[in-house]
Symmetry: C2
Subunit: 422 residues, 2 copies
Amino acid sequence: MDLDQVNATIRAAAPSLFQHLSALGRRAVFPRGIPFQAAEAASAEINGTIGQITDGRGGTRPLPVVAEGLSSLDPDLQRHSLLYSPMAGLPELRELWRARQRREAPQDAPSSLPIVTVGLTHGLSIIADLFISPETVVVLPAPFWGNYKQIFGLRRGAAVVGFPAYDGDRFRAEGYAEALDELPRGAAMVVLNFPSNPGGYSPSEAERAQIVEGLVAAAQKRRVLVLVDDAYHGLVYDAEIPRRSIFWDLLGKSEQLVPVKVCGTTKELVFFSGRVGFLTFACAPDSALAQALESKVKALIRSTVGSPVGPSQALALRALRHPELDAQTEAVRAELEARFLCLQQAYRQLNFRTLRLLPCNSGCFALFELQDDPEIWRRRLLAEQSVGMISVPPRYLRLAFSSVAEDNLVELLTRLKRMEDG
Amino acid sequence: MDLDQVNATIRAAAPSLFQHLSALGRRAVFPRGIPFQAAEAASAEINGTIGQITDGRGGTRPLPVVAEGLSSLDPDLQRHSLLYSPMAGLPELRELWRARQRREAPQDAPSSLPIVTVGLTHGLSIIADLFISPETVVVLPAPFWGNYKQIFGLRRGAAVVGFPAYDGDRFRAEGYAEALDELPRGAAMVVLNFPSNPGGYSPSEAERAQIVEGLVAAAQKRRVLVLVDDAYHGLVYDAEIPRRSIFWDLLGKSEQLVPVKVCGTTKELVFFSGRVGFLTFACAPDSALAQALESKVKALIRSTVGSPVGPSQALALRALRHPELDAQTEAVRAELEARFLCLQQAYRQLNFRTLRLLPCNSGCFALFELQDDPEIWRRRLLAEQSVGMISVPPRYLRLAFSSVAEDNLVELLTRLKRMEDG
């Protein structure tokens, strides 16, 4: 498809999504250049298309000092670790990740074949390139992950508007719709990030329903793009709280409500430096719309990073092929649940006077609300107590309990209490 | 350093470079957010800063189904493959790459500690973000790599102006200065890509001197940023042709001439899907200018891909630590030289009438000039001869001899000749 065809396809199949496209999003199309022509020549007897150094017949010709480091991988995964990846990622990895995503989806819910990105942030960045213009307002609960401001604001010029996430000990599920109601006319992007960073919060079924209803109502007044950031998917420590992605709850609710989903192996496969993310749209994998959107995303992948990462995709694929994967991810979740429970118990036992642990049931983090400047707390904790935490303006401290063992969590809270007392 | 300090530092140390910064480049600064605060807490007794899942004491806690694929790596490289990379890359990898770069540099030539990017294209994309505004003109010899247009034009809105690279059988070293002379007033970016893609050309010492002199003269009339794209560094097959990066020839020539260097492991370590690139500036590694530029680059890395890739850096580091590396890269170069010589000989023997092999002495590619539409040739070659080549408008075919064995190169040229005859 050329650019006109790609844009016409999107306009016809998803007019509201088309309206959200930024100027860059409208210009983007995967060109008929080298990767396109190389894909066409994949089965030629003699293939002189791609500038790879091979054995001369399509096989790898690595340096032994590199390849020896890959020798514990199956031969096909070694190959994937050395030669260029397809622009949208390894087909088998995409299929297996889609099947994994859809285990919790309603059977007829449309979802595209996920496109592989260089970590989840790259997926967010591509969504920002596609859909954010300087006049876009991005709405999300505050406090929020600081990098959203870099991705949406620094790079794309959007206004990032946070509404208060908490009312005392309550998560404000009504906040999304209220914040949208207060905006002037125009398109908006909403970020749904559950389990949340930095809060470690996931909504109950009732709160989810409230969030979705609020967004559907808001979409009657304006176009709303909903970016579902599933970075911490599955890490839930309360049996009453749903684990499924809220992406599935948004499908088919309103033509003016456009959901997109980003997720990744970073936390789900405990593979932090791997940088394998996935970008998923709400359309059938073989649809013309999926192909048109994939053309635009591939153009942005090509022009930001060349192509996705081979060794990391190979390792993720190894994990997804393995029958032990679910048992192993559940073991990690259970360990984090133990840390989470340890943290909650230690907090209750220490009777803090001013430092309030905000509601938390999931993810990697817990958030403490202070009564004064968190940066002063952070620096004193580091200098006087040798404790590292993150200060989040205007009055929060974030604790990554995912990286602190149970005995150290008790000790950390004891030192926090010492600070509060001293 | 905060944004004002970063900008003031650059303005004071490198006023011409500062003038090249785009609006995004001027806004960018590495925020005092999570990675910044986590780095400060690196030696705390209890570190709850980064949202990684660890063993609770700073060690890895991977899924066995992922970690088993890394078991042939040393323990420290396994760790680098799993936990988040520092934002600018692994320090040891940066030091070793810098030492490797500088083996061919004049002793007192300033060069920064290279910053790790997600492949060479990510380095180009960051340079484009930093230095390209919609009014920037990018000058380079045509035909050129199509992705330059995506990176500089599609994403950043620059005008990409190609001048004719060849005059019959001669590379037009004078073309850079001539093209700059013809531009209206304003800043310009010039791309120097040797060995070239798609031409496979590297200039002689005399041609290099001519290129550098031309750029120095042009820099008396306007600010010129010179982007040195060393993707194919070292792959030279003519003993008379210098292999060293032209980056070193540009240093200290003119305050208005600002060189930056991008290079990577993609071709230099035959590691195509690894996506490890490097970005190098012309300043001392411990200078305030280097720190200020690094702050901006780290902000752009953080907001495009989160952080650099761990497993790929680990594999590159393994290679750079290994005493056999030079012998192994030389073996690859020698194999490509054999393919290059085979191609040249077969071309001479076949007596093509219209299809002209352009001057070529290096790299992965050779370029054929046609007398008609290369896309028609490409499609017929694929359909009738089962030969894959890349069509490059307006009248070129690119052959990646790096991926075709010697016997198949002879066969490929025979089929090309058959097409010419038929």
